[in-house]
C-alpha cells in the first residue's frame, strides 16, 4: 500500500518560502499529477517525498511509514523509501550498459544472479527495449534513454513511482506515445504514480486526479481531469488549463449587459452582488451561426488555418476568438467574411468576479 499523506508541509529554499503549510493525500493505486507553472514548487514537493530534500515543517507518510517528521527530526534517506524515480534529464548512468543500469537496484538488493537476470530482461521487455541490453546510453536516442530510466525505476517493484517531467525532453510524437504507455503500465502494475508536469495536456490525458498549483506554491484545486477542466474552482485554474476568452459583463439595476452595449445576457446569470463580471469560455465553447439567436456580433477578422477557420469577433466593445472546422463551415454556410454580422451562443461559460481578475493580473 502506498498512500502518500503530506501534512502541513513548509519548505524554504535559498531564503524563499517555496511551500507553506501544504497538505495533500494521494491514494494508493492512483495516477496523481502535480500541475503548475515552472517555479511553483511542484518539483520541490516531489523531492521532499523522494527524500532528496527535507521540509522545515510537517510530516510525510508513505503507506504506514512516517518518512519525515520535521518536529521529531525524522527523515528517512531516499534509499530506504522503496521508490522508483524518473528524472526530466533521464539520469541514466553513462558508464553502464542498458542492462547494468536496469540491474543496479537489484544488485544493491543482493538479488541472486539468475533471478536478477530474468527480472531485468522482463523489465526491459516491458519498456520495449529488448535487444538493446548491451548498448551504452550514448548509443541511445532520448526516448530510449527515458525508457531505460523507466525500467530502472520499475525493476525493483516499488509501490510508488515519482516522475518529474519525464517526457518534456522528447519530441511531440514520442511524448504522446509515451504518456499512454506510462498510463497503461501504471494500471497493469497497480502502483501509485506521482507525476509532475507543467503541461496540461499530459496531465489531462494521464491522471486519475490532478492538483493544480500556482506560482506561490499553493494548491488551487484537486480533482479529476474532468472537474478541473469543466468546473474550475477559480479564474487562475481556468486560465491555466488552456486558451481562455473573456467577455466583460456589467450589472445595471439587476440586469446584466455585455460590454458597453445594451444586449442583455441571455443565459444563466451569475450569483452575487458585484457590479462588474467576467464571463470566461474557451474558443471551442463558442457556437457561431447566422441564425438570429444569442448575442449579435461582428466578424472583425477571418483567418483560414487549413483545418480550422479562425474568427476574431466583436460584441459591443469586447473581442474574443472562436473557431469552426473548415468542412463544417463550408457545409453549414459559416464562411464569414470580415465585417459580416453573426450570432453567438455559448456551450459552456464560467462567471468570475471582475475584481478577482484584476487581482490575478
Amino acid at each position: 500500500m502506498a498512500t502518500i499523506e503530506l501534512d502541513h508541509i513548509s519548505k524554504r529554499y535559498e531564503g524563499r518560502e517555496v511551500l507553506s503549510d501544504l497538505s495533500l493525500t494521494i491514494e494508493h493505486g492512483e495516477c496523481f499529477t502535480l500541475l503548475g507553472p515552472s517555479g511553483c514548487g511542484k518539483t520541490v514537493l516531489m523531492r521532499l517525498i523522494a527524500g532528496f530534500d527535507v521540509p522545515e515543517q510537517g510530516t510525510i507518510r508513505i503507506g504506514d511509514t512516517v518518512v519525515v517528521d520535521a518536529e521529531k527530526r525524522i527523515a528517512l534517506s531516499p534509499d530506504t523509501r522503496d521508490l522508483g524515480v524518473v528524472f526530466q534529464e533521464y539520469a541514466v548512468w553513462p558508464h553502464m550498459t542498458v542492462f547494468d543500469n536496469v540491474a543496479y537496484p537489484l544488485k544493491l538488493a543482493k538479488t541472486p544472479q539468475a533471478k536478477l537476470e530474468k527480472r531485468v530482461l522482463e523489465t526491459i521487455a516491458l519498456v520495449n527495449m529488448t535487444g538493446l541490453e548491451r548498448r551504452l546510453p550514448s548509443e541511445l536516442s532520448g526516448g530510449q534513454q527515458q525508457r531505460v530510466a523507466l525500467a530502472r525505476a520499475l525493476v525493483a517493484n516499488p509501490s510508488l513511482m515519482l516522475l518529474d517531467e519525464p517526457l518534456s525532453n522528447l519530441d511531440a510524437n514520442l511524448r504522446e506515445e509515451m504518456r499512454f504507455e506510462i498510463k497503461e503500465m501504471q494500471r497493469k502494475l497497480d502502483i501509485t504514480v506521482l507525476y509532475v508536469t507543467h503541461d496540461q495536456e499530459i496531465a489531462l490525458a494521464l491522471s486519475d486526479r490532478i492538483a493544480v498549483m500556482d506560482k506561490k506554491g499553493r494548491i488551487l484545486q484537486v480533482g479529476t481531469p474532468f472537474d478541473i477542466f469543466e468546473k474550475p474552482a477559480s479564474l487562475a485554474v481556468f486560465t491555466f488549463m488552456g486558451v481562455a476568452n473573456f467577455m466583460a459583463v456589467r450589472q445595471e439595476n439587476g440586469e446584466f449587459y455585455v460590454g458597453t452595449g445594451t444586449q442583455p445576457v441571455p443565459w444563466e446569470k451569475p450569483q452575487g452582488t458585484a457590479k462588474n463580471w467576467v464571463a470566461g469560455f474557451r474558443p471551442s465553447d463558442v457556437v457561431i451561426s447566422r441564425k438570429e439567436q444569442g448575442l449579435r456580433g461582428v466578424v472583425k477578422r477571418a483567418n483560414f488555418l487549413g483545418a480550422m477557420m479562425d474568427y476574431l469577433v466583436e460584441v459591443d466593445g469586447t473581442e474574443f476568438r472562436t473557431g469552426v472546422e473548415t468542412h463544417l463551415a463550408v457545409e453549414a454556410g459559416l464562411m464569414f467574411a470580415e465585417g459580416e454580422q453573426c450570432s453567438l451562443q455559448f456551450a459552456s461559460l464560467h462567471w468570475f468576479d471582475a475584481a478577482e481578475m484584476v487581482e490575478e493580473a
Binding site: 531516499p78 526530466q88 538488493a109
Partner: protein
C-alpha cells in the same frame, strides 16, 4: 537545507570532509601566504606600511619591480600580436596544413622555457654563442650579431614560449564564433576588412585580453628565463631577486623581509590580474560565441598562401627546432664551444649523466619520485576538495571556495618563500633541506590544477545521477563508489598528469628549496649551467625533453582514445 537530513545521515561525515578539506588548504596554502604577509606588513610589532614602502624604494628592489614590469609588458604585447596573428592564420585563412601548424604552435606549451633560454644562450650569448661566433668568424663582424643577455633577448625568448596562451584562447573563440554574425555583416555590404575590424575583433577581444592577462601574470612571476639570461648582465626581476636574496644571505632577517615584500607585490598583482580576467570573461562572452562548432568563412590568401606557409615553417624551425637541436648537440660535445663535427660528438655525456654521475642520477630519481608523490597526493586531495565545492551543501562551504581560489593567485616563488617561512622550524616542524619541503611546496603549487580539473569533471556529473542511485536503494557511499567515482576517473587521471609532467621539469620552487642531496632535474640543469658544466647541463636538458615529450604523447594518445570511443 542541510540541517535535518544531515542529522540522520552522515552529519558527522559531511562536516568531517569539509573540515579536512579546509585543513589541507589552510596548512598547505593559506598559512605560507599568511606568513608572507605577516613578515611583510608586521614590522616592529605593528602593522607597518611605511616600512614596506621603504623596502620597495630601495634601489635594488625598485629596479626589480620595474624590470618585472618592463619584461611583462613587452612579453604580453609581443605574445598577443604573435598569438593572435597565428590563431587567425590557422582558423580563418586557407593556409595549407593548418591542422599540423596548429599542433606545432602548441608545442612550446610543453617545453620548459628555462631550457629554451639555455639553448638561446648557447646560440646568442655575446662571445660564445654559436650564431654570434659564426657571424664574427665568417663575415668578420666586429660586434656580436645579437646580445641575448638583454631585455630584448629575455622578452623575445619569453614570447616564444608564452604566445600559445593567447593562441589557444583566440583559436577557440574564432572556431566557436557563430559565422552568421559575420555573414549578416557581409550581406549588409561590409567588406572583409570592415567585418574583421567591426565584427570579428570586437567579438574575440575578450579572449585576446584574457590570454594576454594570463601571459602578464605568468611573465611577472616567471623565474627561469630571467635567471638564465638576466643575472649575467645584472637584470633581476621580482622572482630572481627573491631567489638571489634568500640564496645569498642564508635567511637573514633583512633578506627575508625584502623577499616577503616582493612576494606580496606578486600576490597582489596576480589577484588584480585574475580579477580583471574574470571581469572580462564574465561580460557575456558566451552569448555571442555559441558552444557549437561552425565552419567559419575562410579568407583566400591567394599569392600569399605559400609565402605565409614558409613564414610559419621558418618561425617553427627557428623557435622550436633550432633550440631543441642545439640542446641535443651541445649535450653530445666533449667540450662546450667546439664545432659540431663528428669527432667532437658522442653519446658519452648522456651515458655519464644517466648511469655514472651521482648528481644527475639523484636529480632524475628525485624529480620522478617527487612528481609521482605530488601528483598522487594533490590529485586525491583535489578530488575531495572539488567534491565539497561542487556537490556538497554544507554550511561553511564559502570558506573552502575562497581557499580553493587562493592557489590560483600564488606564483611559484611566493609558494617557495612561504613554505620556507612555515616549515623551517618556526611553527615546530623543520623540513628545511629535506625532500619533504619540496613535496609540500609542489602540493601547494599544483593544487590549483587539481581543483580545476576535478571540479570540471564533477560538474559533468549531474546531481540527478546520484539521486537516481539513492532512489534505487544505494547508500551515499555506494552511490559515490558506483556512480561518481567511475565518472570522474578521467578527470582525476587528467589531474594526475597535469601535475606530474610540470613537476618533472619544475625549477622556480625547487631552486629555492633544494639542498645538495635534493636537487631536482630543473635544479640540476640550472646549477650545472651556472657552474660552467654546460655540456652536462645540455645533456640533462635533452633527457628531460625526451621524458616530457614522451609523457605528453602518452597523454595525448589516452585522451584521443577516450574521445574516439
Amino acid at each position: 537545507m542541510a540541517s535535518a537530513i544531515k542529522k540522520n545521515e552522515g552529519f558527522g561525515a559531511a562536516q568531517l570532509i569539509l573540515a579536512l578539506s579546509i585543513g589541507i588548504l589552510v596548512v598547505v596554502v593559506a598559512v605560507p601566504v599568511l606568513l608572507i604577509f605577516l613578515n611583510a606588513f608586521w614590522a616592529d610589532g605593528k602593522f607597518n606600511v611605511q616600512d614596506v614602502l621603504r623596502v620597495l624604494s630601495e634601489p635594488d628592489t625598485y629596479q626589480a619591480l620595474m624590470n618585472s614590469l618592463i619584461i611583462a609588458v613587452g612579453t604580453t604585447i609581443g605574445s598577443t600580436v604573435v598569438g593572435t596573428f597565428f590563431a587567425w592564420l590557422v582558423t580563418r585563412t586557407d593556409l595549407p596544413y593548418k591542422r599540423f601548424m596548429k599542433g606545432m604552435f602548441l608545442v612550446p606549451f610543453m617545453l620548459p622555457s628555462f631550457i629554451g633560454a639555455l639553448a638561446w644562450k648557447m646560440l646568442l650569448s655575446p662571445r660564445a654563442g654559436y650564431i654570434n661566433r659564426f657571424f664574427m668568424d665568417t663575415f668578420g663582424f666586429e660586434e656580436p650579431l645579437f646580445n641575448i643577455y638583454s631585455f630584448t633577448g629575455i622578452i623575445l625568448v619569453e614570447i616564444m614560449y608564452l604566445f600559445p596562451f593567447v593562441f589557444i584562447q583566440v583559436c577557440g573563440a574564432l572556431e566557436r564564433m557563430d559565422p552568421t554574425l559575420e555573414e549578416s555583416a557581409r550581406i549588409s555590404g561590409a567588406g572583409l576588412f570592415t567585418i574583421t575590424r567591426k565584427i570579428t575583433i570586437p567579438l574575440v577581444m575578450p579572449s585576446i585580453l584574457s590570454g594576454a592577462l594570463l601571459i602578464m601574470l605568468y611573465s611577472m612571476a616567471h623565474f627561469g628565463t630571467v635567471a638564465v639570461l638576466g643575472i649575467e648582465n645584472g637584470i633581476f626581476n621580482i622572482p630572481t631577486l627573491i631567489y638571489e636574496r634568500i640564496h645569498q644571505s642564508a635567511g637573514s632577517f633583512a633578506s627575508i623581509r625584502t623577499g616577503t615584500v616582493l612576494a606580496s607585490v606578486l600576490v597582489f598583482s596576480a589577484a588584480l590580474i585574475l580579477w580583471l580576467q574574470n571581469k572580462i570573461l564574465g561580460k557575456g562572452r558566451y552569448q555571442i560565441i555559441a558552444g557549437k562548432s561552425f565552419r567559419p568563412m575562410e579568407l583566400k590568401l591567394r599569392g600569399l598562401r605559400y609565402p605565409l606557409l614558409a613564414f610559419c615553417l621558418a618561425y617553427i624551425g627557428f623557435t622550436i627546432v633550432l633550440p631543441t637541436v642545439v640542446i641535443f648537440l651541445v649535450g653530445g660535445l666533449t667540450t662546450y664551444g667546439l664545432p659540431f663535427t663528428a669527432e667532437h660528438l658522442s653519446l658519452n655525456n648522456y651515458k655519464f649523466i644517466l648511469f655514472d654521475y651521482q648528481v644527475t642520477r639523484d636529480a632524475i630519481v628525485n624529480s620522478v619520485t617527487l612528481g609521482l608523490a605530488a601528483a598522487l597526493i594533490t590529485m586525491s586531495a583535489g578530488v575531495m576538495i572539488s567534491y565539497v565545492i561542487v556537490k556538497m551543501r554544507v554550511r561553511g562551504k564559502g570558506i573552502l571556495e575562497f581557499l580553493g581560489m587562493l592557489p590560483f593567485s600564488v606564483p611559484g616563488s611566493v609558494i617557495a618563500l612561504g613554505v620556507i617561512l612555515a616549515w623551517s622550524g618556526k611553527l615546530g616542524i623543520n623540513l628545511y633541506n629535506t625532500v619533504w619541503i619540496i613535496l609540500v611546496a609542489y602540493i601547494a603549487r599544483y593544487m590549483a590544477f587539481s581543483i580545476k580539473a576535478n571540479s570540471a569533471a564533477l560538474e559533468q556529473v549531474h546531481d540527478s545521477l546520484v539521486e537516481a542511485a539513492r532512489a534505487c536503494g544505494a547508500s551515499m557511499g555506494q552511490a559515490l563508489r558506483d556512480i561518481v567515482l567511475p565518472l570522474v576517473r578521467p578527470g582525476m587521471f587528467a589531474a594526475f598528469f597535469l601535475i606530474f609532467l610540470p613537476a618533472l621539469r619544475e625549477l622556480t620552487v625547487s631552486i629555492m628549496l633544494y639542498s645538495p642531496t635534493t636537487r631536482t632535474i630543473g635544479v640540476a640543469i640550472y646549477t650545472l649551467n651556472e657552474d660552467g658544466e654546460t655540456v652536462m647541463s645540455a645533456a640533462l636538458a635533452g633527457i628531460a625533453l625526451i621524458l616530457i615529450v614522451s609523457g605528453q604523447l602518452f597523454i595525448n594518445r589516452l585522451t584521443r582514445k577516450k574521445a574516439g570511443r
